[in-house]
Symmetry: C2
Subunit: 238 residues, 2 copies
């Protein structure tokens, strides 16, 4: 199995996704929200790049069948039902509904993965399910670290390293230079996930905005068994 890692959205273009399986990671918080919403019964999550696009998509649903969720600079978009906190997406809130989600980085990354053979999303909260899915079904993978405002982000990198490490327990894996670096980071002796990410800039930004509970939730591995997969521009359970 061959695994490449894109440091940021921009780097997808140099790597190329055609004929490959894309795995989008935006740990804080979009891909954690996606896993949570689908686990809690959302019928689908539809990524929308802009708030306007999200409103248009929403207007096509019968009343009560869809929800608008998302953030700009970590804050709920004005006029939306929910923000980008996974804790908001309880079964009571999302069960049976389509979540239309617009976030700064994660949903843009999903849109950019159009040319991939298949696109799934990963986060710590559903990592083992993703590992099993990829190990069983895929041979040529690009892990897309969504990053923050176009910049490399340590939370996504650590999740990528854990993903490669866990897949390597099941399959023979070749990876690229960034894959080797994030694998080395994941395997380093500096404590658990939270310890390794204590200096992550986006984590600190979310802390400063009062989102510690979201952070604690997003950094806990294997809370759900769910693999979100993109089909016809909607994420559903694989």
């Amino acid at each position: 199995m061959h695994i490449e890692v894109a440091a940021t959205l921009q780097d997808c273009q140099s790597i190329g996704l055609t004929g490959k399986n894309a795995v989008v990671i935006d740990v804080l918080r979009a891909t954690s929200v996606i896993a949570t919403a689908l686990h809690n019964g959302a019928s689908a999550v539809v990524p929308a790049e802009t708030a306007e696009e999200a409103h248009h998509l929403f207007d096509d649903f019968p009343s009560g069948n869809a929800l608008l969720g998302g953030e700009r600079n970590a804050v709920k978009i004005s006029g939306f039902h929910n923000g980008n906190s996974p804790l908001e997406y309880t079964p009571e809130t999302v069960s049976g509904k389509t979540l239309i989600l617009s976030t700064t980085n994660g949903t843009r990354a999903l849109k950019l993965c159009d040319s991939a053979t298949e696109t799934i999303t990963a986060a710590f909260v559903n990592i083992t399910s993703v590992v099993e899915y990829l190990s069983d079904k895929c041979n040529d993978i690009v892990i897309v670290c969504s990053g923050t405002a176009g910049k490399f982000s340590l939370d996504d990198a650590l999740c990528a390293g854990m993903l490669i490490s866990l897949i390597s327990d099941r399959r023979v894996v070749e990876t690229d230079d960034l894959g080797k670096l994030v694998l080395q980071f994941y395997g380093s002796e500096t404590g658990n996930i939270s310890d390794k990410l204590s200096s992550c800039a986006h984590l600190k930004y979310l802390q400063s905005k009062g989102y510690q509970k979201d952070i604690d939730f997003c950094l806990q591995a294997d809370q759900f068994r769910v693999v979100p997969i993109l089909k016809n521009s909607r994420l559903i359970t694989a």
Copy 2:
């Protein structure tokens, strides 16, 4: 002092170079060639993006005053005097001459740094000189890892990590998420520079093409005291 790291050329755009000092790294081999040529008496190194541009620049020099150097896919460009091996740039070859250099990644990176306040180049071979220069004169630095064919490359990342580590011995440094990751990689317990880079894809490619001597040369720290600085589109000694 604030240090940001761009994983690839593409990532410079998200980071933004305006008002900042750019440090371009292309260890294997462009920035090692640049340091060597200037140390060995070249009057300047002029980066050229294409072979055509290099020939045009060359034609403006009186006979014997300039040299054409560079590579495509690690091989000397047809019609050029020299390739991209630092070992070719002896005092006998370059002293008193202008080297017009066109390489796959390093010279493209230099062209992209137009908007920076000042641009210098770094490699292992001249790292302490660069550290002293930056520690004395700069407060806001972007390290640009040139990478290979648009992809992140471990050799540049390790050099970036060493640069940040050595600057941190002299100044209080704040760095971004990628800066923290490459710093952690440089500080990890896995042997010396060569050991840490033993799985680097571009290093292996150069090995397969018979460039082991170049690699050995480029990975030896502090062979020269020289700081190449970009002035009027030419690299000269700072």
